[in-house]
Amino acid sequence: MLSRRKPFKKIVNQLVELKDTSELMMDLAYSSLLLNSRELAEEVRELEDHVDDLHTDFELLVLSSGFKPEESKDFLGLIRLGIVTEKIADAAAEIAEVVLRGLEPHPVLRLMIEEAEETVTRVRVSRKSSLTGRTLRECRLPEETGMWVLAVRRGKKWLRPKPSTVIRSGDVLIASGYAEGEEDLMKLAVGESRLPNKSA
């Protein structure tokens, strides 16, 4: 495996993080627009700075990995992939900027917002919550609460939710859904109510 070589391992990790973060930003940016949420838009802007740093580190790693002249084409491909993720992050930030500028939403955008009838909420998962230690698939939040998890913030890291993502205590879930679901999700996260027991 290539990644046994130390610089390569770092490059792989960095590329995975760049890709995941840029796609997460895309999700959050559109959501901020559809839901007219300044809070989400702010997150996108913060992530943009983070991606800039990641991208610079990535390029330095690639350039200092000591590749041979005959490998340079492959490494050019790597550099370009990095540029693409940065470009996606920029585009996401531009979408978020529209929300942050507070331009009076055009009837078109307002229509999208109203039609969505959704809210965005953030909840912190407490230690006694029944969500702790379960995967998102097991939590069945859309079925239980009508809320979809858009992103998970763990410390300083942002995770793009996957069905197999295990929720830990202290995670902050950013979710969207109908306003009625907000309270249900909140109760589950703080441990006031519990998920039904696993049954066949």
Binding site: L2, S3, E23, G77, I88, A91, E97, P105
Partner: protein, 202 residues
């Protein structure tokens, strides 16, 4: 480089245009990465085709937005709409950049494959053969997401793309299915489409 299409004004809902552009650009990112991952020039070509479509949609959206502005207030708020459309176009351009890496044979370091092995959801492209049990079945009936954990994100039928196909869409012989899912599900879909697997377990 092919001919650049002349874009004529068509009255289309700006909202519908934005939604289609968003769906297309997200699909293109998935497709472009898989083209790089599988060294598939075909997929890369498909991304470039979609990119042309997004370009066209951007023009039509701009035209509709311009006609919709009647005063300064309109212009201010439509500027936001145009900005979002431009950003979406930029995302599709980014996807096209990946496709170009593949088509120009710049090469993608084998490291990329390793990086993508850490990404749980895989992308795949399968062609539906005549003896496949998928033929003439509605997506809603097949319930591929529930049964094998695979999401059909697009179907290419001849030159036509069906993006985010509805439950009512039937799969036809010769369709090219682009799907995303866990590695095992993706393998199962391949078998189903090629006719080597003849039943879909409950």
């Amino acid at each position: 480089m092919g001919d650049i299409e002349k874009v004529k004004y068509k009255p289309v809902s700006v909202r519908d245009l934005l939604v289609e552009m968003k769906d297309l650009s997200e699909l293109m990112i998935d497709l472009a990465y898989s083209a790089a991952l599988f060294h598939s020039k075909e997929l890369a070509e498909e991304v470039l085709e979609l990119e042309k479509r997004v370009d066209t949609l951007t023009y039509i959206l701009d035209m509709n937005a311009m006609l919709a502005a009647r005063d300064a207030g309109d212009a201010e708020s439509l500027a936001g709409v145009a900005k979002v459309a431009a950003a979406t176009d930029k995302i599709s351009d980014a996807a096209a950049d990946i496709a170009t890496i593949v088509l120009r044979e710049i090469g993608v370091h084998p490291i990329v494959r390793e990086a993508f092995e850490k990404v749980e959801e895989r992308l795949t492209r399968v062609e539906v053969k005549s003896n496949s049990i998928l033929v003439k079945k509605k997506l809603g009936k097949l319930e591929l997401a529930a049964k094998i954990g695979v999401d059909v994100i697009a179907i290419r039928r001849g030159k036509k793309w069906i993006i985010n196909p509805s439950e009512e869409k039937k799969i036809l012989e010769g369709d090219v299915i682009i799907a995303r899912g866990a590695p095992t599900g993706v393998e199962e879909l391949k078998g189903l489409a090629e006719g080597t697997i003849q039943e879909l377990e409950e």
